[in-house]
Protein backbone atom coordinates (compact mmCIF):
# COMPACT_ATOMS: atom_id res chain seq x y z
CA UNK A 1 0.00 0.00 0.00
CA UNK A 2 1.31 3.42 -0.89
CA UNK A 3 1.56 5.92 1.90
CA UNK A 4 3.23 9.25 1.29
CA UNK A 5 3.93 9.86 4.95
CA UNK A 6 6.34 7.13 5.87
CA UNK A 7 9.27 9.51 5.54
CA UNK A 8 7.92 11.67 8.35
CA UNK A 9 10.54 10.48 10.91
CA UNK A 10 13.30 11.51 8.49
CA UNK A 11 11.78 14.92 7.85
CA UNK A 12 11.24 15.61 11.55
CA UNK A 13 14.95 15.05 12.19
CA UNK A 14 15.96 17.01 9.07
CA UNK A 15 13.91 20.07 9.97
CA UNK A 16 15.05 19.93 13.59
CA UNK A 17 18.65 19.97 12.41
CA UNK A 18 18.04 22.84 9.96
CA UNK A 19 16.32 25.02 12.54
CA UNK A 20 19.15 24.30 14.95
CA UNK A 21 21.69 25.31 12.32
CA UNK A 22 19.82 28.59 11.99
CA UNK A 23 20.20 29.03 15.77
CA UNK A 24 23.96 28.53 15.60
CA UNK A 25 25.68 29.36 18.92
CA UNK A 26 22.39 29.69 20.83
CA UNK A 27 22.92 26.55 22.85
CA UNK A 28 19.86 26.91 25.09
CA UNK A 29 17.50 27.18 22.11
CA UNK A 30 19.23 24.23 20.51
CA UNK A 31 18.67 22.12 23.61
CA UNK A 32 14.94 22.86 23.68
CA UNK A 33 14.70 22.23 19.93
CA UNK A 34 16.59 18.96 20.26
CA UNK A 35 14.40 17.54 23.01
CA UNK A 36 11.24 18.83 21.33
CA UNK A 37 12.22 17.49 17.93
CA UNK A 38 13.11 14.10 19.38
CA UNK A 39 9.77 13.95 21.17
CA UNK A 40 7.86 14.72 17.97
CA UNK A 41 10.04 12.18 16.17
CA UNK A 42 9.18 9.59 18.81
CA UNK A 43 5.44 10.23 18.43
CA UNK A 44 5.67 10.05 14.64
CA UNK A 45 7.62 6.79 14.90
CA UNK A 46 4.96 5.34 17.23
CA UNK A 47 2.24 6.28 14.78
CA UNK A 48 4.15 4.76 11.87
CA UNK A 49 4.80 1.59 13.85
CA UNK A 50 1.15 1.10 14.78
CA UNK A 51 0.04 1.74 11.18
CA UNK A 52 2.45 -0.82 9.78
CA UNK A 53 1.58 -3.28 12.54
CA UNK A 54 -2.11 -3.03 11.63
CA UNK A 55 -2.07 -2.49 7.86
CA UNK A 56 1.03 -4.34 6.69
CA UNK A 57 3.90 -3.08 4.54
CA UNK A 58 3.71 0.54 3.35
CA UNK A 59 5.75 1.92 0.47
CA UNK A 60 6.51 5.29 -1.05
CA UNK A 61 7.80 5.97 -4.56
CA UNK A 62 10.00 9.02 -4.25
CA UNK A 63 9.28 11.71 -6.85
CA UNK A 64 6.41 9.55 -8.13
CA UNK A 65 8.68 7.29 -10.18
CA UNK A 66 7.42 3.72 -10.21
CA UNK A 67 9.53 0.96 -8.73
CA UNK A 68 11.97 -0.43 -9.81
CA UNK A 69 13.07 2.75 -11.62
CA UNK A 70 12.75 5.32 -8.89
CA UNK A 71 13.93 5.14 -5.32
CA UNK A 72 11.48 3.27 -3.13
CA UNK A 73 11.06 3.65 0.60
CA UNK A 74 9.60 0.62 2.31
CA UNK A 75 8.24 0.48 5.82
CA UNK A 76 7.92 -3.16 6.78
CA UNK A 77 7.74 -4.28 10.37
CA UNK A 78 11.51 -4.73 10.78
CA UNK A 79 12.18 -1.19 9.52
CA UNK A 80 9.56 0.52 11.64
CA UNK A 81 10.55 -1.42 14.75
CA UNK A 82 14.10 -0.18 14.34
CA UNK A 83 12.91 3.35 13.54
CA UNK A 84 10.88 3.27 16.74
CA UNK A 85 13.81 2.02 18.81
CA UNK A 86 16.10 4.62 17.26
CA UNK A 87 13.60 7.32 18.14
CA UNK A 88 13.43 6.12 21.74
CA UNK A 89 17.21 6.09 21.99
CA UNK A 90 17.39 9.50 20.28
CA UNK A 91 14.93 10.97 22.79
CA UNK A 92 16.88 9.61 25.75
CA UNK A 93 20.27 10.67 24.40
CA UNK A 94 19.03 14.15 23.52
CA UNK A 95 17.75 14.70 27.08
CA UNK A 96 20.99 13.34 28.50
CA UNK A 97 23.21 15.43 26.26
CA UNK A 98 21.28 18.63 27.06
CA UNK A 99 22.85 18.44 30.54
CA UNK A 100 25.71 15.99 30.15
CA UNK A 101 27.73 17.82 27.51
CA UNK A 102 30.09 20.75 27.83
CA UNK A 103 28.92 24.03 26.33
CA UNK A 104 32.04 24.06 24.15
CA UNK A 105 30.87 21.01 22.20
CA UNK A 106 27.40 22.46 21.74
CA UNK A 107 28.91 25.65 20.31
CA UNK A 108 30.59 23.60 17.62
CA UNK A 109 27.27 22.19 16.49
CA UNK A 110 26.79 18.96 18.43
CA UNK A 111 23.00 19.01 18.24
CA UNK A 112 22.47 19.59 14.48
CA UNK A 113 25.00 16.87 13.65
CA UNK A 114 23.36 14.51 16.13
CA UNK A 115 20.01 14.98 14.41
CA UNK A 116 21.58 14.48 10.99
CA UNK A 117 22.98 11.22 12.32
CA UNK A 118 19.56 10.07 13.50
CA UNK A 119 18.11 11.12 10.15
CA UNK A 120 20.68 8.92 8.42
CA UNK A 121 19.74 5.98 10.65
CA UNK A 122 16.03 6.40 9.91
CA UNK A 123 16.79 6.65 6.21
CA UNK A 124 18.94 3.50 6.24
CA UNK A 125 16.14 1.56 7.92
CA UNK A 126 13.41 2.84 5.61
CA UNK A 127 14.98 2.76 2.18
CA UNK A 128 14.27 -0.03 -0.27
CA UNK A 129 17.05 0.78 -2.69
CA UNK A 130 20.53 -0.59 -2.13
CA UNK A 131 22.38 2.42 -3.47
CA UNK A 132 20.24 4.69 -1.35
CA UNK A 133 21.22 2.49 1.60
CA UNK A 134 24.84 3.28 0.77
CA UNK A 135 24.05 7.00 0.66
CA UNK A 136 22.47 6.85 4.10
CA UNK A 137 25.50 4.92 5.37
CA UNK A 138 27.59 7.86 4.17
CA UNK A 139 25.31 10.33 5.97
CA UNK A 140 25.77 8.24 9.11
CA UNK A 141 29.55 7.97 8.95
CA UNK A 142 30.15 11.61 8.04
CA UNK A 143 28.02 12.76 10.97
CA UNK A 144 29.71 10.27 13.24
CA UNK A 145 33.19 11.49 12.23
CA UNK A 146 32.21 14.99 13.27
CA UNK A 147 30.65 13.81 16.53
CA UNK A 148 33.70 11.70 17.30
CA UNK A 149 36.24 14.47 16.74
CA UNK A 150 34.17 17.27 18.31
CA UNK A 151 36.30 18.59 21.16
CA UNK A 152 39.58 17.74 19.51
CA UNK A 153 41.42 16.05 22.36
CA UNK A 154 44.40 13.93 21.38
CA UNK A 155 42.88 10.60 22.39
CA UNK A 156 39.74 11.48 20.45
CA UNK A 157 41.64 12.20 17.27
CA UNK A 158 43.57 8.96 17.62
CA UNK A 159 40.35 6.98 18.00
CA UNK A 160 38.74 8.90 15.15
CA UNK A 161 41.53 8.07 12.71
CA UNK A 162 41.08 4.33 13.27
CA UNK A 163 37.33 4.70 13.11
CA UNK A 164 37.46 6.72 9.93
CA UNK A 165 39.96 4.50 8.13
CA UNK A 166 38.01 1.33 8.81
CA UNK A 167 34.65 2.84 7.98
CA UNK A 168 35.82 4.30 4.70
CA UNK A 169 37.24 0.89 3.84
CA UNK A 170 33.86 -0.65 4.69
CA UNK A 171 32.08 1.85 2.45
CA UNK A 172 34.44 1.04 -0.40
CA UNK A 173 33.76 -2.68 -0.12
CA UNK A 174 30.04 -2.01 0.07
CA UNK A 175 30.15 0.29 -2.96
CA UNK A 176 32.23 -2.18 -4.98
CA UNK A 177 29.71 -4.88 -4.09
CA UNK A 178 26.86 -2.67 -5.28
CA UNK A 179 28.74 -1.95 -8.50
CA UNK A 180 29.21 -5.63 -9.29
CA UNK A 181 25.63 -6.37 -8.33
CA UNK A 182 24.39 -3.68 -10.69
CA UNK A 183 26.66 -5.02 -13.40
CA UNK A 184 25.22 -8.53 -13.21
CA UNK A 185 21.56 -7.70 -12.65
CA UNK A 186 21.01 -4.15 -13.91
CA UNK A 187 18.93 -3.09 -10.94
CA UNK A 188 19.39 -1.41 -7.59
CA UNK A 189 15.95 -1.85 -6.14
CA UNK A 190 16.21 -4.54 -3.48
CA UNK A 191 12.88 -6.17 -4.28
CA UNK A 192 13.70 -6.21 -7.98
CA UNK A 193 17.19 -7.55 -7.24
CA UNK A 194 15.65 -10.36 -5.25
CA UNK A 195 13.82 -11.54 -8.37
CA UNK A 196 16.59 -10.90 -10.89
CA UNK A 197 19.36 -12.55 -8.92
CA UNK A 198 17.58 -15.89 -9.23
CA UNK A 199 17.88 -15.74 -13.01
CA UNK A 200 21.64 -15.16 -12.99
CA UNK A 201 23.50 -18.23 -14.22
CA UNK A 202 26.90 -17.43 -12.77
CA UNK A 203 26.36 -18.45 -9.15
CA UNK A 204 30.07 -18.15 -8.29
CA UNK A 205 30.01 -14.45 -9.12
CA UNK A 206 27.06 -13.95 -6.81
CA UNK A 207 28.95 -15.75 -4.05
CA UNK A 208 31.94 -13.44 -4.47
CA UNK A 209 29.70 -10.38 -4.51
CA UNK A 210 28.06 -11.50 -1.29
CA UNK A 211 31.55 -11.67 0.26
CA UNK A 212 31.99 -7.96 -0.51
CA UNK A 213 28.82 -7.26 1.39
CA UNK A 214 29.88 -9.49 4.28
CA UNK A 215 33.17 -7.61 4.59
CA UNK A 216 31.52 -4.19 4.28
CA UNK A 217 28.78 -4.85 6.79
CA UNK A 218 31.17 -6.89 8.91
CA UNK A 219 33.42 -3.89 9.47
CA UNK A 220 30.39 -1.73 10.23
CA UNK A 221 28.99 -4.12 12.77
CA UNK A 222 32.43 -4.95 14.21
CA UNK A 223 32.71 -8.72 13.77
CA UNK A 224 35.88 -10.77 14.15
CA UNK A 225 38.59 -10.09 12.60
CA UNK A 226 37.44 -6.60 11.63
CA UNK A 227 36.31 -5.40 15.03
CA UNK A 228 39.42 -3.82 16.54
CA UNK A 229 38.53 -0.25 15.58
CA UNK A 230 35.50 -0.34 17.87
CA UNK A 231 37.09 -0.85 21.29
CA UNK A 232 39.88 1.54 20.39
CA UNK A 233 37.59 4.40 19.42
CA UNK A 234 34.35 4.14 21.43
CA UNK A 235 35.86 5.12 24.75
CA UNK A 236 37.13 8.47 23.47
CA UNK A 237 34.08 10.68 22.68
CA UNK A 238 31.74 12.00 25.39
CA UNK A 239 29.30 9.47 26.79
CA UNK A 240 26.24 10.89 25.06
CA UNK A 241 27.97 10.39 21.70
CA UNK A 242 29.28 6.96 22.68
CA UNK A 243 25.71 5.98 23.63
CA UNK A 244 24.44 6.78 20.15
CA UNK A 245 27.36 4.97 18.56
CA UNK A 246 27.33 1.93 20.81
CA UNK A 247 23.59 1.50 20.75
CA UNK A 248 22.81 2.21 17.14
CA UNK A 249 25.69 2.32 14.67
CA UNK A 250 26.85 -1.29 14.84
CA UNK A 251 23.24 -2.38 14.67
CA UNK A 252 22.83 -0.74 11.27
CA UNK A 253 25.37 -3.24 9.99
CA UNK A 254 23.30 -6.09 11.44
CA UNK A 255 20.15 -4.62 9.91
CA UNK A 256 21.83 -4.36 6.51
CA UNK A 257 22.97 -7.99 6.79
CA UNK A 258 19.45 -9.11 7.69
CA UNK A 259 18.06 -7.19 4.73
CA UNK A 260 20.55 -8.23 2.06
CA UNK A 261 20.80 -11.85 3.15
CA UNK A 262 17.05 -12.31 3.36
CA UNK A 263 16.28 -10.55 0.07
CA UNK A 264 19.24 -10.79 -2.25
CA UNK A 265 21.81 -13.38 -1.20
CA UNK A 266 19.84 -16.20 0.33
CA UNK A 267 22.60 -17.86 2.41
CA UNK A 268 23.92 -21.12 0.99
CA UNK A 269 25.99 -23.61 2.96
CA UNK A 270 29.26 -21.75 2.40
CA UNK A 271 27.88 -18.39 3.55
CA UNK A 272 26.23 -19.98 6.55
CA UNK A 273 29.43 -21.70 7.63
CA UNK A 274 31.41 -18.51 7.08
CA UNK A 275 28.96 -16.44 9.12
CA UNK A 276 28.86 -19.08 11.84
CA UNK A 277 32.66 -19.15 12.17
CA UNK A 278 32.70 -15.34 12.26
CA UNK A 279 29.97 -15.35 14.90
CA UNK A 280 31.77 -17.84 17.16
CA UNK A 281 35.08 -15.99 17.00
CA UNK A 282 33.35 -12.64 17.52
CA UNK A 283 31.68 -13.89 20.68
CA UNK A 284 34.89 -15.38 22.04
CA UNK A 285 37.20 -12.44 21.25
CA UNK A 286 34.68 -9.94 22.57
CA UNK A 287 34.22 -11.92 25.75
CA UNK A 288 37.94 -12.40 26.40
CA UNK A 289 38.61 -8.74 25.64
CA UNK A 290 36.00 -7.69 28.16
CA UNK A 291 37.61 -9.84 30.86
CA UNK A 292 40.79 -7.80 31.17
CA UNK A 293 39.48 -4.24 30.84
CA UNK A 294 39.18 -1.97 33.85
CA UNK A 295 37.84 1.15 32.14
CA UNK A 296 34.05 0.86 32.13
CA UNK A 297 33.58 2.13 28.61
CA UNK A 298 36.27 -0.11 27.14
CA UNK A 299 34.59 -3.00 28.89
CA UNK A 300 31.23 -2.09 27.36
CA UNK A 301 32.86 -1.73 23.94
CA UNK A 302 34.10 -5.32 24.10
CA UNK A 303 30.66 -6.44 25.26
CA UNK A 304 29.19 -4.82 22.13
CA UNK A 305 31.53 -6.94 20.00
CA UNK A 306 30.66 -10.07 21.99
CA UNK A 307 26.90 -9.58 21.61
CA UNK A 308 27.13 -8.73 17.91
CA UNK A 309 28.32 -12.33 17.58
CA UNK A 310 25.05 -13.62 19.04
CA UNK A 311 23.09 -11.87 16.29
CA UNK A 312 25.43 -12.87 13.48
CA UNK A 313 25.05 -16.47 14.66
CA UNK A 314 21.29 -16.07 14.42
CA UNK A 315 21.62 -14.85 10.83
CA UNK A 316 24.03 -17.71 10.07
CA UNK A 317 21.48 -20.33 11.11
CA UNK A 318 18.91 -18.56 8.89
CA UNK A 319 15.69 -20.20 9.96
CA UNK A 320 12.52 -18.69 11.32
CA UNK A 321 13.30 -19.35 14.97
CA UNK A 322 16.93 -18.25 14.63
CA UNK A 323 15.90 -14.96 13.02
CA UNK A 324 13.33 -14.43 15.76
CA UNK A 325 16.18 -14.76 18.23
CA UNK A 326 18.44 -12.43 16.26
CA UNK A 327 15.77 -9.75 15.81
CA UNK A 328 14.68 -9.96 19.45
CA UNK A 329 18.30 -9.63 20.50
CA UNK A 330 18.65 -6.63 18.20
CA UNK A 331 15.66 -4.93 19.85
CA UNK A 332 17.02 -5.68 23.33
CA UNK A 333 20.55 -4.71 22.44
CA UNK A 334 19.73 -1.26 21.03
CA UNK A 335 17.96 -0.23 24.22
CA UNK A 336 20.40 -1.77 26.67
CA UNK A 337 23.67 -0.76 25.00
CA UNK A 338 22.55 2.86 24.58
CA UNK A 339 21.65 2.89 28.23
CA UNK A 340 24.95 1.31 29.30
CA UNK A 341 26.93 4.17 27.83
CA UNK A 342 24.59 6.73 29.37
CA UNK A 343 25.22 4.98 32.68
CA UNK A 344 28.95 5.21 32.09
CA UNK A 345 28.48 8.95 31.57
CA UNK A 346 26.48 9.22 34.79
CA UNK A 347 29.16 7.32 36.73
CA UNK A 348 31.76 9.67 35.36
CA UNK A 349 29.66 12.60 36.47
CA UNK A 350 29.32 11.07 39.95
CA UNK A 351 32.94 10.16 40.47
CA UNK A 352 35.00 11.95 37.82
CA UNK A 353 36.57 8.75 36.50
CA UNK A 354 35.65 5.58 34.67
CA UNK A 355 38.44 3.39 36.00
CA UNK A 356 36.96 0.56 38.03
CA UNK A 357 39.97 0.41 40.34
CA UNK A 358 39.39 3.96 41.49
CA UNK A 359 35.59 3.72 41.75
CA UNK A 360 33.55 2.36 44.60
CA UNK A 361 30.83 2.95 47.13
CA UNK A 362 28.18 4.21 44.72
CA UNK A 363 25.52 1.97 46.23
CA UNK A 364 25.84 3.45 49.70
CA UNK A 365 25.83 7.02 48.34
CA UNK A 366 23.13 6.71 45.66
CA UNK A 367 21.00 3.62 46.39
CA UNK A 368 18.05 4.63 44.16
CA UNK A 369 20.14 5.39 41.10
CA UNK A 370 22.07 2.17 41.68
CA UNK A 371 18.85 0.15 41.66
CA UNK A 372 17.82 1.61 38.29
CA UNK A 373 21.27 0.78 36.96
CA UNK A 374 20.97 -2.74 38.39
CA UNK A 375 17.84 -3.37 36.29
CA UNK A 376 19.77 -2.47 33.16
CA UNK A 377 22.77 -4.60 34.11
CA UNK A 378 20.56 -7.59 34.89
CA UNK A 379 18.81 -7.16 31.53
CA UNK A 380 22.14 -7.11 29.75
CA UNK A 381 23.25 -10.30 31.47
CA UNK A 382 19.91 -11.89 30.62
CA UNK A 383 18.57 -12.93 33.99
CA UNK A 384 15.04 -14.21 33.47
CA UNK A 385 12.51 -12.64 33.09
CA UNK A 386 14.42 -9.59 31.86
CA UNK A 387 14.92 -8.79 28.21
CA UNK A 388 18.30 -10.42 27.53
CA UNK A 389 16.96 -13.83 28.44
CA UNK A 390 14.23 -14.36 25.84
CA UNK A 391 16.21 -14.08 22.60
CA UNK A 392 18.78 -16.54 23.90
CA UNK A 393 16.04 -19.12 24.36
CA UNK A 394 15.29 -18.96 20.63
CA UNK A 395 18.95 -19.00 19.68
CA UNK A 396 19.65 -22.05 21.87
CA UNK A 397 16.58 -23.85 20.58
CA UNK A 398 17.55 -23.39 16.94
CA UNK A 399 21.21 -24.17 17.56
CA UNK A 400 20.23 -27.53 19.09
CA UNK A 401 17.97 -28.32 16.14
CA UNK A 402 20.77 -27.52 13.68
CA UNK A 403 23.44 -29.26 15.81
CA UNK A 404 25.60 -26.14 16.07
CA UNK A 405 27.24 -27.28 19.28
CA UNK A 406 30.27 -24.99 18.96
CA UNK A 407 27.95 -22.00 18.67
CA UNK A 408 26.06 -23.22 21.74
CA UNK A 409 29.33 -23.44 23.65
CA UNK A 410 30.28 -19.93 22.48
CA UNK A 411 26.85 -18.61 23.52
CA UNK A 412 27.27 -20.13 26.97
CA UNK A 413 30.81 -18.79 27.34
CA UNK A 414 29.72 -15.37 26.09
CA UNK A 415 26.81 -15.24 28.50
CA UNK A 416 28.91 -16.39 31.44
CA UNK A 417 31.68 -13.92 30.74
CA UNK A 418 29.07 -11.15 30.46
CA UNK A 419 27.68 -12.25 33.81
CA UNK A 420 31.16 -12.36 35.32
CA UNK A 421 32.32 -8.96 34.10
CA UNK A 422 29.06 -7.28 35.03
CA UNK A 423 29.16 -8.87 38.49
CA UNK A 424 32.76 -7.75 38.84
CA UNK A 425 31.83 -4.26 37.71
CA UNK A 426 28.90 -4.18 40.15
CA UNK A 427 31.05 -5.17 43.09
CA UNK A 428 33.91 -2.85 42.11
CA UNK A 429 31.85 0.21 41.30
CA UNK A 430 28.88 -0.07 43.61
CA UNK A 431 29.77 -2.26 46.60
CA UNK A 432 33.50 -1.91 47.15
CA UNK A 433 34.55 0.82 49.57
CA UNK A 434 36.43 3.49 47.66
CA UNK A 435 40.10 3.71 48.48
CA UNK A 436 40.57 6.60 50.85
CA UNK A 437 43.61 7.99 49.08
CA UNK A 438 41.67 8.82 45.91
CA UNK A 439 40.39 12.35 45.58
CA UNK A 440 36.73 12.07 44.54
CA UNK A 441 35.67 14.62 41.99
CA UNK A 442 31.90 14.67 42.25
CA UNK A 443 30.41 16.81 39.48
CA UNK A 444 26.91 15.59 40.18
CA UNK A 445 26.28 16.96 43.69
CA UNK A 446 26.73 20.67 42.85
CA UNK A 447 24.33 20.48 39.88
CA UNK A 448 20.90 22.14 40.31
CA UNK A 449 18.08 19.62 40.98
CA UNK A 450 16.44 19.94 37.57
CA UNK A 451 19.71 19.05 35.92
CA UNK A 452 20.09 16.00 38.15
CA UNK A 453 16.62 14.85 37.14
CA UNK A 454 17.37 15.42 33.46
CA UNK A 455 20.50 13.34 33.80
CA UNK A 456 18.86 10.35 35.49
CA UNK A 457 15.54 10.55 33.64
CA UNK A 458 16.76 9.17 30.29
CA UNK A 459 18.39 6.23 32.04
CA UNK A 460 15.15 5.58 33.88
CA UNK A 461 13.12 5.84 30.67
CA UNK A 462 15.36 3.41 28.83
CA UNK A 463 15.32 1.06 31.83
CA UNK A 464 11.50 1.17 31.73
CA UNK A 465 11.53 0.32 28.03
CA UNK A 466 13.89 -2.58 28.74
CA UNK A 467 11.63 -3.79 31.56
CA UNK A 468 8.66 -3.58 29.21
CA UNK A 469 10.41 -5.75 26.65
CA UNK A 470 11.39 -8.26 29.30
CA UNK A 471 8.12 -8.51 31.18
CA UNK A 472 5.88 -8.19 28.15
CA UNK A 473 7.97 -10.55 26.06
CA UNK A 474 4.90 -12.13 24.52
CA UNK A 475 4.09 -8.98 22.54
CA UNK A 476 7.68 -8.67 21.36
CA UNK A 477 7.77 -12.35 20.40
CA UNK A 478 4.64 -11.77 18.34
CA UNK A 479 6.32 -8.86 16.54
CA UNK A 480 9.54 -10.78 15.94
CA UNK A 481 7.46 -13.69 14.70
CA UNK A 482 5.91 -11.48 12.00
CA UNK A 483 9.29 -9.95 11.18
CA UNK A 484 11.06 -13.27 10.76
CA UNK A 485 8.18 -14.63 8.68
CA UNK A 486 8.58 -11.62 6.40
CA UNK A 487 12.33 -12.13 6.27
CA UNK A 488 12.14 -15.84 5.48
CA UNK A 489 9.53 -15.33 2.78
CA UNK A 490 10.17 -11.98 1.12
CA UNK A 491 7.27 -12.31 -1.34
CA UNK A 492 5.12 -9.93 0.72
CA UNK A 493 7.92 -7.34 0.59
CA UNK A 494 8.40 -7.82 -3.16
CA UNK A 495 4.67 -7.60 -3.84
CA UNK A 496 4.38 -4.45 -1.78
CA UNK A 497 7.21 -2.77 -3.70
CA UNK A 498 6.61 -3.96 -7.25
CA UNK A 499 2.87 -4.55 -7.14
CA UNK A 500 1.95 -0.93 -6.55
CA UNK A 501 1.85 0.95 -9.80
CA UNK A 502 0.78 4.54 -9.55
CA UNK A 503 -0.97 5.65 -12.70
Amino acid sequence: MIDNHILAPIFVQLFTAIIQLACWRKTLTQRYLSVGGSLIGLMVAFRLFSRVYEDGILTLNAANWDAPFGIVFVADLLSVTLVLLTSIACFAVSIFSSVGLSRQRMLYGYFPIFHFLIMGLHGAFLTGDIFNLYVYFEVIIISSFVLMTLGGRKAQLEGAVKYMAMNILASMFFLTGIGILYGITGSLNMADLSLRIQEVQNKALIGITSCFFIIGFGIKSAVFPLYYWLPSSYHTPPSAVAATFGGLLTKVGIYAMLRTFSLIFIPDDFTRTLLMVIAIFTILTGAFGALIKTNIRRLFSYLIVCHIGFMVGGIAMFSKVALMGAVFYLIHDILVKTNMFLIAGLIRQLRGTMDMNKLGGLYSDYPKISLVIAIVLFSLVGIPPLSGFWPKVFLFQEAFIQHQYVYIAALIIGSFVTLYVIAKMWSEVFWKNPSASEEVENLFAPMPPYKKILMVLPIGLMALATLYIGLNAEAIVKITDIISTQLMDPSAYIDAVLGNKTD
Binding site: I2, N4, H5, L7, F11, L14, F15, A17, I18, I19, L21, A22, W24, L60, N61, A62, A63, N64
Partner: protein, 136 residues
Protein backbone atom coordinates in the same frame (compact mmCIF):
# COMPACT_ATOMS: atom_id res chain seq x y z
CA UNK B 1 49.46 38.97 -2.38
CA UNK B 2 48.90 42.46 -3.80
CA UNK B 3 48.94 42.67 -7.58
CA UNK B 4 47.38 45.49 -9.54
CA UNK B 5 46.66 43.27 -12.53
CA UNK B 6 44.85 40.66 -10.48
CA UNK B 7 42.89 43.28 -8.55
CA UNK B 8 41.70 45.01 -11.72
CA UNK B 9 40.87 41.73 -13.38
CA UNK B 10 38.94 40.53 -10.32
CA UNK B 11 36.77 43.62 -10.37
CA UNK B 12 35.38 42.47 -13.74
CA UNK B 13 35.68 38.74 -13.17
CA UNK B 14 33.63 38.62 -9.98
CA UNK B 15 30.30 39.67 -11.54
CA UNK B 16 30.96 37.63 -14.68
CA UNK B 17 31.72 34.48 -12.71
CA UNK B 18 28.65 35.03 -10.54
CA UNK B 19 26.49 35.43 -13.65
CA UNK B 20 28.05 32.30 -15.13
CA UNK B 21 27.36 30.35 -11.94
CA UNK B 22 23.73 31.46 -12.07
CA UNK B 23 23.57 30.39 -15.72
CA UNK B 24 24.89 26.96 -14.74
CA UNK B 25 22.28 26.73 -11.97
CA UNK B 26 19.38 27.49 -14.34
CA UNK B 27 20.61 25.24 -17.12
CA UNK B 28 21.14 22.29 -14.84
CA UNK B 29 17.75 20.60 -15.10
CA UNK B 30 18.24 19.12 -18.57
CA UNK B 31 21.88 19.86 -19.42
CA UNK B 32 25.22 19.60 -17.62
CA UNK B 33 25.29 22.06 -14.73
CA UNK B 34 23.09 22.44 -11.69
CA UNK B 35 23.26 23.64 -8.13
CA UNK B 36 26.46 21.90 -7.12
CA UNK B 37 28.62 23.09 -10.02
CA UNK B 38 27.02 26.53 -9.95
CA UNK B 39 27.77 26.84 -6.25
CA UNK B 40 31.38 25.82 -6.79
CA UNK B 41 31.84 28.44 -9.54
CA UNK B 42 30.25 31.13 -7.36
CA UNK B 43 32.48 30.31 -4.42
CA UNK B 44 35.53 30.30 -6.69
CA UNK B 45 34.59 33.84 -7.68
CA UNK B 46 34.77 34.90 -4.04
CA UNK B 47 37.95 32.93 -3.48
CA UNK B 48 39.54 34.79 -6.40
CA UNK B 49 38.43 38.07 -4.87
CA UNK B 50 39.99 37.09 -1.55
CA UNK B 51 43.26 36.21 -3.30
CA UNK B 52 43.41 39.65 -4.88
CA UNK B 53 42.09 41.81 -2.04
CA UNK B 54 42.61 39.81 1.13
CA UNK B 55 40.13 37.65 3.02
CA UNK B 56 38.91 40.48 5.27
CA UNK B 57 37.77 42.58 2.31
CA UNK B 58 35.92 39.65 0.79
CA UNK B 59 34.12 39.06 4.06
CA UNK B 60 33.20 42.74 4.04
CA UNK B 61 31.53 42.60 0.62
CA UNK B 62 29.70 39.41 1.65
CA UNK B 63 28.32 41.19 4.75
CA UNK B 64 26.92 38.00 6.28
CA UNK B 65 28.90 35.00 7.41
CA UNK B 66 28.90 32.28 4.75
CA UNK B 67 27.90 29.86 7.52
CA UNK B 68 24.44 31.42 7.61
CA UNK B 69 23.89 30.36 3.99
CA UNK B 70 23.92 26.68 4.99
CA UNK B 71 20.66 26.62 7.00
CA UNK B 72 18.96 28.88 4.43
CA UNK B 73 19.98 26.62 1.56
CA UNK B 74 19.09 23.45 3.42
CA UNK B 75 15.76 24.98 4.37
CA UNK B 76 14.89 25.87 0.77
CA UNK B 77 15.84 22.37 -0.41
CA UNK B 78 13.97 20.62 2.39
CA UNK B 79 10.83 22.69 1.83
CA UNK B 80 10.89 22.03 -1.92
CA UNK B 81 11.27 18.30 -1.16
CA UNK B 82 8.33 18.18 1.25
CA UNK B 83 6.10 20.69 -0.56
CA UNK B 84 4.42 18.09 -2.85
CA UNK B 85 3.09 16.37 0.30
CA UNK B 86 0.57 19.21 0.60
CA UNK B 87 -0.89 18.14 -2.74
CA UNK B 88 -1.02 14.49 -1.75
CA UNK B 89 1.96 13.59 -3.92
CA UNK B 90 5.09 11.74 -2.77
CA UNK B 91 8.02 13.88 -1.60
CA UNK B 92 10.39 15.16 -4.30
CA UNK B 93 7.72 15.07 -7.02
CA UNK B 94 8.37 17.87 -9.52
CA UNK B 95 5.71 20.57 -9.47
CA UNK B 96 5.73 23.03 -12.34
CA UNK B 97 4.17 26.38 -13.11
CA UNK B 98 1.87 26.20 -16.12
CA UNK B 99 3.40 29.04 -18.11
CA UNK B 100 7.11 29.49 -18.86
CA UNK B 101 8.66 32.64 -17.45
CA UNK B 102 10.65 34.80 -19.88
CA UNK B 103 14.47 34.35 -19.86
CA UNK B 104 14.42 31.74 -17.08
CA UNK B 105 12.06 29.27 -18.71
CA UNK B 106 9.97 26.70 -16.88
CA UNK B 107 10.06 27.00 -13.11
CA UNK B 108 9.43 24.01 -10.90
CA UNK B 109 10.20 22.72 -7.46
CA UNK B 110 13.37 21.12 -8.84
CA UNK B 111 14.81 24.60 -9.41
CA UNK B 112 14.25 25.50 -5.78
CA UNK B 113 15.93 22.29 -4.72
CA UNK B 114 18.91 23.20 -6.87
CA UNK B 115 18.90 26.73 -5.51
CA UNK B 116 19.17 25.27 -2.02
CA UNK B 117 22.09 23.10 -3.07
CA UNK B 118 23.72 26.15 -4.68
CA UNK B 119 23.54 28.12 -1.43
CA UNK B 120 24.72 25.20 0.71
CA UNK B 121 27.74 24.64 -1.53
CA UNK B 122 28.70 28.33 -1.41
CA UNK B 123 28.25 28.34 2.36
CA UNK B 124 30.29 25.20 2.98
CA UNK B 125 33.15 26.01 0.60
CA UNK B 126 33.54 29.60 1.79
CA UNK B 127 33.31 28.61 5.47
CA UNK B 128 36.05 26.04 5.03
CA UNK B 129 38.34 28.26 2.96
CA UNK B 130 37.90 31.37 5.10
CA UNK B 131 38.55 29.38 8.27
CA UNK B 132 41.79 28.08 6.81
CA UNK B 133 42.79 31.49 5.40
CA UNK B 134 42.19 33.36 8.67
CA UNK B 135 44.13 30.82 10.73
CA UNK B 136 47.40 31.52 8.91
Amino acid sequence: MKSAILQTATRYLLPILLLFSFFLLLRGHYYPGGGFVGGLVASIAFVLHSFANGTENTMKILRYKPLSLIPIGLGISAVSVTFPLLFGLPPMTGLWFEEPIPVIGMIGSALFFDLGVYLVVIGVVLTILFTIALND
